[in-house]
Amino acid sequence: MNMQKEPINIVDELTQSDYKYGFVTDIEHELAPKGLNEDTIRFISAKKHEPEFMLEWRLKAFRFWQQMKEPKWANVKFPPIDYQDAYYYAAPKQSANKPKSLDEIDPEIRRTFEKLGIPLTEQQRLAGIAVDAVMDSVSVATTFKEKLSELGIIFCSMSEAIREHPDLVKKYIGSVVPYTDNYFAALNSAVFSDGSFCYIPKGVKCPLELSTYFRINASETGQFERTLIIADEGSYVSYLEGCTAPIRDENQLHAAVVELIAHKDAEIKYSTVQNWYPGDKEGKGGIYNFVTKRGICEGNNSKISWTQVETGSAITWKYPSCILKGDNSIGEFYSVALTNNYQQADTGTKMIHLGQNTKSRIVSKGISAGKSQNSYRGLVSVGKKAMNARNYSQCDSLLLGDKCGAHTFPYIEVKNNTATVEHEATTSKISEDILFYCNQRGISTEDAIGLIVNGFSREVLNQLPMEFAVEAQRLLAISLEGSVG
């Protein structure tokens, strides 16, 4: 009997583990007036010294958004959001312009990121990652910029890109995720405040992992960032994204848009470790993470690979997708989504096969504990012209506890008879037999659960770049604290 009870205790412990990034940094914020109207958008645009085309685009998006209705189809429940009761622009106050060198950054901010384990000082070269740190609505620092620019790589904040490289921005922004795409994409297009911009020129293999670290700090704000990555012919980039937020009782909205464009022979690898504040044990507070992420394999032989580790957010609602337009292009999606307490996740991917000989692979691992609900929702669509398209999808769910739910909603649409599409899904709990097997060999139940969860997610974790794999494993360990040695 003891055997049976123990795992439940561990799940309890798991439920009680704390969110380690929940501190608030005491810095002054510059806020836009609360609420959302055309003036707010003009305020944001003016604040950023944006060219005229940007403001017009924002306004168009805003007018479109006003006519839209919030979608209800996801398998998540939340009280209605009052879009007028939030700040749409919050920036840490600092000396008039962006600091010239990293030393000029407000030490308080720097300490924040150090606390989060994000090196902003270039002395820490060993880390070997170029970081764009975004706090609330604005990018506060970008490291290794010079080194990258020697190779012709543009890596900067979105606002800087709009000012310095308006042609590139104008050409690509909204080309993958138009503002008409969905409710939250329209909202983001209207009010996005910053984000990262990255352009890899022809034939360049980016030598560093590029990274953005998102931090929500101010209260009652929504964070709306926009990331745009363009990989020109034959180039390669690996991009990492991480996020945290302080503990608050209120729900904060995070509605980001990420667009990836891979030209001929280019490859983009996009990894996310999402650890927004998930709310407390009673399900109070936490971030609403409603994100639109989409990449297009524009040219032949291009490749886009999404990897995500989702442990945070009260509600996650996102589907990193690939449009496989170029012939022989490849799309990949690897995901681990762990939900606990009252967290809800409705996540998955879309693979749109348009070109010939396109391939896609989906590996999704869902782990639900506590009273959480974890859904996989994915679409594999094969168009009429996508000869010899190939897809393999695998979605596995692991249930820890009897009050959580795991759901799978795969959509498969095939219009071409040369395509091969396979989908498999399983749902199970950690079986007593496996635990017994481990116990029998002297592994405690606690260790065994850690072992099994790690093994369960390994296929995805292995896809992460080295530096991130460590962080991701640490994250899973925090969420499973008490069960991992």
Binding site: T408, E413, A419, V421, A425
Partner: protein, 450 residues
């Protein structure tokens, strides 16, 4: 007039024509249902349950609602042509949605089980109707079920008594005769299996005539403790036929359901098959084969609702889609929080034979219990080139190789049909579709005997 208004109009006239029946239980159900239907309206593609199912025909074709039984058959029509060859069992014939005793054949089970038409049962078995009708059906979410409840004139009421055990099947045969105008019929069947009862049920629907026919059928089945049902639907209809059929099954403890749905043709087919496993140790087996061409459309929606622990469900649907046909599969496994120790398996495999064929498949798992084993799989592809090469290297031409492969692909589903006569009929029709030569066809019939 749009279909919705037409139906409302029809219902109002029908209500006025009633005298004593207005206070009946059935009429109160009908009133509720017509209201549901009006509120729900005809679903659009935005409705998740109808996402891939275009119901344009309801707007493009002007249907008349069938309101009375026929006065006589045209000379060139012989109802027994639609009987299954060599079928030994009872046949209940419905023409234009009305029970026709003189064309039916009720011999074997006569006196042993209660076989009645809904029209008769309204009076003779009103208590049964009050107890069961619409108890678990999706009246509130599916407008066609609501429409059926509101308008169904007739249907079969079968009560299988306790401990009844028979290999003699009951065949419900609906024939629509849209001779002069496009016809809409609604039939409603109610089947109750008492404790330990075992029986077989077959449903088919045909339309004969130049005009279009829309048959909207609902079957409610109640399986009491330890009962067993073998349920087959066979669909092989004309290019003028539109069919929406829902079967709602409620299973009690230890009950067993074996369902096989075979669809070989029809302009538009939507099959809803839902079973609630509402007693421990109950089992549901759903098998399906759709093999369609032309511009046919088939949509299979299934739901296995595990409400109690220790239940098993197994679902296996296969599709072969040719020409410009489109197939949809939407299978859901729901495991409620109480339903621990559930085993559920679901598979949907598809082969597209032509460049213009389409498959949309959506296998779903919704799981709220932790101690379960659930899995599902879906595939879509073309015949294995290596396998065809293997045949060809042994002197078998490509077409024959394809026939062999498709035959073996579909055989496990066809074999799950319990009744021999029906199974042979299906084999003949499938063989014909595969344009197999006689010799080969003989060999499959032969192997079947062994």
């Amino acid at each position: 007039m749009a279909i919705k208004e037409k139906i409302t109009d029809y219902f109002d006239k029908y209500a006025q024509s009633l005298n004593g029946e207005k206070n009946s239980y059935l009429f109160s159900l009908r009133k509720k249902s017509i209201k549901n239907f009006q509120e729900l309206g005809i679903p659009t593609l935005k409705n998740e349950e109808w996402k891939y199912t275009k119901l344009n025909f309801l707007n493009n074709i002007d249907f008349e609602i069938s309101h009375s039984s026929i006065e006589g058959l045209p000379n060139n029509i012989n109802i027994s042509d639609y009987f299954i060859d060599n079928f030994e069992g009872d046949i209940l014939v419905f023409i234009n949605g009305f029970f026709e005793e003189k064309y039916s054949r009720i011999i074997e089970n006569k006196g042993k089980i209660i076989i009645s038409s809904l029209n008769d049962a309204k009076i003779k078995h009103s208590d049964t109707i009050e107890m069961y009708l619409t108890k678990y059906t999706d009246e509130n979410s599916n407008p066609f079920t609501a429409l059926n409840t509101a308008l169904a004139n007739d249907g079969a009421v079968l009560i299988i008594p306790s401990n009844f055990d028979s290999e003699v099947p009951i065949h419900l045969l609906n024939i629509n005769l849209p001779l002069d105008f496009n016809l809409l019929t609604n039939t409603r069947n109610l089947v109750i299996f008492e404790k330990n009862a075992t029986a077989q049920l077959i449903e088919t629907s045909y339309s004969i005539g130049e005009m279009a026919s829309f048959h909207n059928s609902v079957t409610e089945i109640y399986l009491k403790e330890n009962s067993e049902l073998h349920y087959n639907k066979f669909q092989n209809d004309s290019q003028k036929s539109y069919y929406i059929g829902s079967t709602q099954i409620h299973q009690e403890k230890n009950s067993r359901l074996f369902s096989t749905t075979i669809s070989l043709g029809g302009k538009f087919i939507r099959n809803n098959l839902n079973s609630i496993l509402d007693g421990e140790q109950s089992e549901a087996h759903f098998n399906g084969l759709y093999f369609i061409g032309n511009e046919d459309f088939i949509d299979n929606h299934t739901l296995v609702d595990h409400a109690k622990p220790y239940c098993d469900s197994k679902e296996n649907y296969k599709g072969i889609i040719d020409d410009k046909a489109t197939a949809v599969f939407n299978g859901k496994i729901m495991v409620r929080q109480k339903a621990q120790k559930t085993n559920a398996y679901q598979s949907n495999k598809n082969i597209l034979l032509s460049e213009e064929a389409t498959i949309n498949t959506k296998p779903q798992l919704e799981i709220f219990a932790d101690d379960v084993k659930c899995s599902h799989g879906a595939t879509s592809g073309y015949l294995d080139k290596d396998a065809i090469f293997y045949f060809r290297s042994r002197g078998i031409d490509e077409n024959t190789a394809q026939s062999y492969l498709l035959n073996s692909f579909s055989s496990d589903i066809i074999e799950s049909v319990r009744n021999n006569a029906l199974r042979d009929l299906i084999k003949t029709k499938v063989a014909k579709k595969l344009s197999m030569n006689d010799l080969y066809f003989c060999s499959i019939l032969e192997s079947n005997k062994i």
